[in-house]
Symmetry: C2
Subunit: 547 residues, 2 copies
């Protein structure tokens, strides 16, 4: 049997579009001789629809879309994901379902058993779990079908399991010929390797081939990397779809051969591809074609601009230089050099007159007060307003250029540099921003070398340097990874060799800036734990552990 893995990029709730793409890929699969084509989890409605799932018209439209696909699809088997009304008299009203159909007839359905409720997942909010999992017969084969999380609960791989059942083990007991998992599994820099490890382990353990079809695309702050694949019963990778792009690949289950695409070769390449996809999809799905960002001559705005130009084309990215008296000549030169090498258009809007007019307006009320963070924030906010004005006037999406490290410790200004619709590198720690910059430059010098070597500065007062206000970035990022991504306690972090006072200072900065993150623009997640939906902290709280 030949199975097509149709890794596509749905738009949430755009049923016409999703139907057309499913029909398109089904025809392509039929033309390629496939007997069955497999689409990702909830591919009919897109993932995650969040509270749209609570709207009954959304569920009805999703059912109508399934009717249409079933009526119009060519005559091969199709396995695809949709939201099905629960038939139980108790519990949530819908289920996360995989439906197998051919020639307009439903051959079987499987409901997702394990509903993740952690990190950025909220599935227990919407879905009733499936009660059992049995193989579905298809053309003489028994297909062992599971949905995403269903394969993430093996006793050996996950010693502390969060679910009492293992649907794969349950299926295995019913002797399927092949396992198929449909997923909408978010990208992070460690995910692809881990996923392949799990699938290899399961294929080997149960001595069955394993087909895995994942969504691709950007959805708000989530990137789906695709990376669909098939593993043979010995654990070998025999089919590999592209990463960060739609793709159709096929597995021949007799020969255990199939298509092998190239995927990202390094972590940096992966990140750059993820950021590009996230940005492109956010803009397309929100109806933007052009982006605008401030160019400071620093590494953050340089990397943001470079990735935006790679994703959207130089003609669609506008750089705005907004110098103040604190802006060095070098910064202006570096920003101009960057724009030139990226071939992007820039405009210059000096902020000093506006800044002075604010100071004058506020002077009667600020008399006798010292200059402080107020004046620094004002400059950042003027720049935010100018970018928003350009956005309002010409319809550009404003790209916020802050990195994860700044957002973590609150080294950023609400309504200032935190203005924007999409914060492209907001989940990229500062040290990784440099790595990405070097990766981008390794393919031809793009970002001026000076940008990578000079000391980072916000240039909001005389002779300001980040390192006067913050711990060294390598230490800071190391502690932040432990505290934020691994959820390590301060004592554990200190136990790993970090200075107690340094850890105390960093933890305080993180805890005190939650209110800024609450109003920050979204951006693509690339680490194992990002801010936003994946990390939900109270703003008003009094928790200070003693250490």
């Amino acid at each position: 049997m030949k199975i097509g893995l149709a890794q596509f990029d749905p738009t949430i709730g755009d049923f016409d579009y999703n139907c057309s793409r499913i029909l398109h890929f089904t025809e392509k699969a039929r033309d390629a001789g496939c007997h069955l084509v497999v689409f990702p989890e909830l591919s009919l409605c897109g993932y995650p629809p969040r509270d749209l799932l609570e709207r009954q018209e959304f569920i009805s439209d999703n059912l109508r879309a399934l009717d249409r696909v079933m009526a119009e699809a060519p005559d091969i088997g199709v396995l695809c994901g949709y939201a099905s009304p629960s038939t139980r008299d108790c519990g949530k009203s819908i289920q996360n379902t995989a439906v197998l159909f051919e020639k307009g007839i439903v051959l079987g359905q499987v409901h997702k058993r394990l509903l993740p409720s952690y990190d950025l997942f909220d599935e227990t909010r919407y879905f009733e779990p499936g009660a059992e999992t049995r193989p579905l017969p298809f053309r003489g084969r028994a297909l062992g079908i599971t949905i995403c999380e269903d394969i993430w609960n093996d006793r050996v791989l996950f010693p502390r399991r969060i679910y009492p059942v293992d649907p794969v083990a349950e299926l295995a007991a019913h002797n399927p010929d092949i396992f198929i998992n449909i997923s909408s599994s978010p990208f992070d820099i460690k995910k692809a390797d881990f996923r392949r490890h799990i699938l290899s382990y399961l294929a080997t353990k149960y001595r069955r081939p394993f087909v895995y079809v994942n969504t691709v695309g950007g959805q708000d702050g989530i990137i789906f990397d695709g990376n669909s694949l098939a593993i043979d019963p010995k654990g070998n990778l025999v089919v590999q779809a592209a990463d960060f792009a739609e793709d159709l690949v096929a597995l021949d289950t007799e020969s255990m051969n199939g298509d092998m695409r190239r995927v990202s070769g390094s972590r940096e390449e992966m990140i750059v591809n993820a950021l590009q996809l996230g940005l492109k999809d956010y803009m397309r799905k929100c109806g933007f074609s052009r982006a605008v960002l401030g160019l400071s001559g620093g590494v953050d705005s340089s990397v943001t601009a470079a990735v935006a130009v790679m994703a959207l084309g130089a003609e669609n990215v506008l750089g705005v230089l907004m110098p103040s008296p604190y802006t060095s000549k070098e910064s202006v030169e570096d920003a101009a050099a960057l724009a030139e090498s990226l071939k992007m258009r820039t405009v210059t809007v000096p902020i000093n007159d506006v800044f002075c007019s604010y100071l004058q307006a506020l002077a009667p009320h600020f008399a006798g007060q010292e200059t402080d963070i107020t004046e620094e924030n004002l400059q950042a906010r003027i720049r935010g307003n100018i970018l928003m004005a350009i956005s309002n006037k010409f319809g550009h999406l404003v790209l916020s250029t802050g990195n994860k490290t700044e957002l973590a410790v609150g080294y950023c200004t609400l309504y200032g540099d935190l203005s924007g619709g999409y914060a492209l590198i907001s989940d990229v720690p500062k040290t990784m921003v440099y790595e990405i910059a070097r990766h981008i430059n390794s393919k031809g010098a793009v970002i001026p070398q000076k940008v990578l070597t000079k000391a980072p500065s916000a240039e909001l007062k005389e002779n300001q340097k980040d390192q006067d206000d913050l711990p060294p970035y390598d230490l800071l990022d190391a502690v932040l990874e432990l505290y934020l991504e691994q959820n390590a306690s301060p004592e554990q972090i200190i136990g790993q060799g970090h200075d107690r006072d340094l850890v105390r200072r960093i933890v305080q900065m993180v805890d005190r800036s939650e209110y800024k993150r609450h109003q920050a623009p979204l951006g693509p997640r690339i680490t194992t734990r990002s801010f936003g939906y994946g990390r939900r902290y109270p703003i008003a709280h009094g928790y200070r552990t003693s250490f």
Copy 2:
């Protein structure tokens, strides 16, 4: 037996403070002759701690706090809520638990069975549900203890149940002498009545007294109203605690008599009390003592100012008048009259010079472009920046003054009037803002009459009136309530007599402004469905149902 209902206002994670309060109320209860004192759900750590619950040091600190309370409490029975480590080898690592202790000895524990995962609740994200519920013996009585949601699943009251078990029915089969429920149940304007109805129904159905102890206080966007109470087996209210304030009341289980406090008499009084509590607690828990807001002379900023003065005292509220050439003389007079009647201090910061400096800075790039929404937003953003500058300089919390209707349809400016730390009336629909204003005035004229009668205007361009840009507020709010709170489909809304084109226009406005709400400040929830945590929509999506 005499039972104390200790309705207190914990601060999340401030274990020292929460311990002291629990000990204080326990002593008070002992002094009042109580044999048992009951605290709300998760009262030891505060509710909801969100992802703090994923930090092991938080759980350890919470256990240490329990040890301290057990060691120091006077010798009466204490029932209180905390996060307990799960003893199962599978599932989430903690449980939402009620512990009953006396004289330093644990007499029993009950784990929450029903974990809400809808609206603003995420309990399946953190907790492993309890497996069974049995009465706990205490001084010869059997206490039928449940936690919050556990009582919200009766077959008759909830025909479509979302959980397969009913812990109250299960407990009833074991013949308890009394039911006790500890809750952290969020306020909305319909909640208190509904809660009393449920409790009366259950007391009558099982012919047992029912004691209900609820948290009080503001926690980010949630208000807990307190309203603890006891119902006798005939369904009569026999104990009533205050609403929106800490309280200790007692029930004598022999005589079925107890304390009866006055609670809010009208919906408007309830809302004003809720808003005051929300603001006070947000400020206290975040460490603010003073607030600043813009006074436009309109009803929204007038109501916000009046409530802030009631909550914080006039000396702690600063009003800022920020007139532009579009600001009418009447608006300035109305704002000044309001401030005078509230006895609050104001400063005036005209924005025209700053506005002109922006226009000048942008002129080279805006040449040939029409004046449009850009210039309106700029004015709103200048005002936002001025308020933030005052906040930065003097440490005031900025109160955002927008109402729910504006936020719903996007009639507000990101980084402009959406600037602020706390959006006091952001869950109050415009028509209800007027009702609240009239209620406030009914206790002595405070808000100038003209503010209540003139046509609302943003005054961002010549002769602008809200009603030129928006449907009439009464129709708008009626449709919004159906669409947002009742989740009615457009066809259902039209079926209730609303004009098809009007509904289409409103639904479009709501759907297109999700990105603004994503970056909006939080504010206290008073309706049955607020924006923020309780309503989670994707920003990038293509869902447009046809109607």
